[in-house]
Symmetry: C2
Subunit: 105 residues, 2 copies
């Protein structure tokens, strides 16, 4: 009945691993596992949905047009729709586990 | 810009502490801190919204009409709307930190 956010963490990942944990029309809850991944050079996310995101393991640097933030376990941030951002860095030695909630107004 | 889910954990709590981290029509993301709290005897939650919930610190036992589950950090479960449930127990010695996402179809 339950599952665990920290279970089945892959040891090698060619790409980020995105898994939908729950979804309904207007909301999507995802576990994202990064392993040294960053957004491709010059790539910026520009999403129709708001995103609330927390780092639960590992660490990451998230870049916005005007600021870059470093996130450690428990750190969360809300990214309003169409706020351009990119993942600048995630820990190369251990997986970074994110929990993301995408939602609409 | 960021805040941390594990910051400002109160050391003594007369009641569960519920904080809304993000909200929009149809979705609400909350941090809930319990400290030995349980639902009152005979009380069952019966919600109009679906609830996705994860324990991030501490531990808890969640009771449904047909089953009781014990949850440890990382364990998550989806509780469909109108699925009766109650919190049977949370760790009395350390705070239990939950992250809950309430959402509608």
């Amino acid at each position: 009945m339950t599952a665990n956010l920290f279970a089945d963490l892959p040891t090698a990942l060619p790409d980020e691993l995105v898994q939908v944990l729950a979804a309904a029309p207007g909301v999507c809850i995802e576990r994202i596992v990064s392993h040294g991944h960053a957004s491709p050079p010059g790539f910026w996310y520009d999403q129709d949905q708001h995103e609330w995101i927390v780092v639960l393991k590992g660490a990451a640097r998230l870049k916005f047009e005007d600021v870059e933030i470093e996130m450690h376990p428990g750190d969360f941030v809300t990214i309003p729709a169409h706020t351009r951002h990119r993942v600048e860095w995630t820990t190369p030695d251990v997986p970074t586990v994110w929990l993301a909630v995408f939602y609409r107004e």
